[in-house]
Symmetry: C3
Amino acid sequence: MFHILNVDDLATDFLLDLWNLALVNKGKRNSKLKNKIITNLFYEPSTRTSSSFFSAMNLSGGSVIPINNVQFSSVSKGESLQDTILTMSAMTDAIVLRHHEEGSALKASEVSEVPIINGGDGKGEHPTQTILDGFTIFNSFSESMSNLRITLVGDLKNGRTVKGLVKLLSRFNNNHFNFVSPEHLKFSDKLPNSSYETSDINSVIKETDVLYVTRVQKERGSVYNYELKEEQLLSLPRKSIVMHPFPRTTEIPNSFDSDSRAKYFDQIKYGVWCRQILLEKVLLT
Amino acid sequence: MFHILNVDDLATDFLLDLWNLALVNKGKRNSKLKNKIITNLFYEPSTRTSSSFFSAMNLSGGSVIPINNVQFSSVSKGESLQDTILTMSAMTDAIVLRHHEEGSALKASEVSEVPIINGGDGKGEHPTQTILDGFTIFNSFSESMSNLRITLVGDLKNGRTVKGLVKLLSRFNNNHFNFVSPEHLKFSDKLPNSSYETSDINSVIKETDVLYVTRVQKERGSVYNYELKEEQLLSLPRKSIVMHPFPRTTEIPNSFDSDSRAKYFDQIKYGVWCRQILLEKVLLT
Amino acid sequence: MFHILNVDDLATDFLLDLWNLALVNKGKRNSKLKNKIITNLFYEPSTRTSSSFFSAMNLSGGSVIPINNVQFSSVSKGESLQDTILTMSAMTDAIVLRHHEEGSALKASEVSEVPIINGGDGKGEHPTQTILDGFTIFNSFSESMSNLRITLVGDLKNGRTVKGLVKLLSRFNNNHFNFVSPEHLKFSDKLPNSSYETSDINSVIKETDVLYVTRVQKERGSVYNYELKEEQLLSLPRKSIVMHPFPRTTEIPNSFDSDSRAKYFDQIKYGVWCRQILLEKVLLT
């Protein structure tokens, strides 16, 4: 039994194997998990993530107990996270946990009798987002993750998806990172070797392979928003890609959606593909 | 790929075929949709409609991602309807959309990559309710939709089910409509050719084949209620039927429920039968 | 067709048969209910109970329409419980009803066209909890339910699980009951023949086979809590068992969880096993 708690725990070989399987399978249906049931235990709402796991589980024939808005449920009777985890692990085969507190997935894994998949723990990690982000790059650049110029823009201080992606891409050779944000939302983790920090997107956009745009995290306390203009996006190299973990507000104009460089809706589809393979790995090991 | 957005888009041949299939199948189980998954995307609560689609999908072996109370979900992070639709259409095979704004289903269909089924859009339409209402009449009058005297009573101004049913029955020959409401809740669409407006139910109830009672739409701003007495209902012709789109408050007394003319619980069952066939048509075309 | 409304309706032979089947089957998967769909109709939240039925139904291949927080649904449009029951019984094969009002399950059964399973009705009953509590004892004491010293502790006035368990165990020979509570939370039903009331747990804990600890029912108006110390629990006889219907707050320290006498997480697993057999009995009869 193993848990999916953070990016550092995911071995590169494991990820490459997962991505290769996802690329071959492309979300095709099977019945490998027809005897399995998982719990979507969501302490804060995340339609996208919970639906993605639901759909992924379904593709392999498995079932999901959807528990959304746990704040309205038994927890209101004063139950600890540990007891809730032990309860759900007594009746299901794995738990996808979304929680507002950093470290909650780790805490859950310490008591659970079944695998815990971290579906986002506050300002902590969101490893399955990193898996799908990585797959999007893997799939867009001929299954290579090296020699890329990655420009990250927006709220780099609070965005857990940025932290995860930087950790992941730092493992591969010769990647360069541009961190674009205002001073008060600067990337707060250790900078990778080849890094450049700026508040001016125009100074780096033309030298970018992967533009990763993040949302202002209103619910985590930031108030800044970054609106990219269509002209700026059109100045990206032809073979670059534009990613966004979604939801977006006004960071990327809708008019860019039909551009072949826009990969943010592909990311959502890839999320299902990757989570399907991940669930098979977690539940059949 | 086609959407189910409004009654006018539903060809009569399409409906007659759907009803005939529903009548033969009667909600029998099959596995035609065992490889399909849809999203119930409900921006306002409607247990009846969402459960009916859930059950219908299940009868054909398919699955449903239940998203209720979208107001508590990612939308609270400021996502547009279009982005939510594109998101869910990247991971499911069709979307049943319930939304408080008129025109939202059309808006959704303009961006979606998968079929949109309008599950009610504010004061707009609710075409699957019209389909099941039509089937109830079809099934009660020997598969004929003509030569009927239809009496519609209650809030005719705001009730979208009334508008849909009038549109549908106007297509068939020799139907006569009685509109019974107080002045301020009068039917506001174009009156059919053979129409009579009154505020006195007693003047028409004995000359009625289909009595269609609607609920006061408190959540859409009306304050009037129409309470039918059991004596009035008993004065209906023996071969007439009484319909109600539900939920009811006090429009029809419970004591009438066991009368053979009361068809409102049959409507609910027929809703599942019809939606099953509709989903098969939408998802297998 | 039969309903599961209260403990008194459950014949002892029925229960012994159910427990024996659950003990043999141990939650193993089958497809006996693959053509069945039930509704989890929960007017108040209960993640544990609703998830247990969901998982149990799934183990036998069936499906569940999850309706949680009915207060946010059609009922807000003023629908009566009876109409909601008739609605759901027109589209599903059974209804698990959780409701805040005592007597609601009985009321539901009087109109329903499908079996009603009482999933807890206010201060009334929670018969499937009693079934799993009974199974826990049955399984822990060599399939015997007699000659036991049962100590019940906590809020004995409001706790419906205590009332159900006392009713059940009173049917078997030579059981003795210790009721431990402060004066204002004393057991309010008729005391069984061999009973002893006290407010001092220490006076009876060493002469106990089954220690049944309940939670303070804040949401039902009590304000007392009973904290057992680890030393007290360790003074229980070696072959005794400790049960709790959960959720717990501070009644039992986490440090006791790994003790072999602690059966409260087993209860959760057994709940799924028993509900699976119960659903098969209810839906296939």
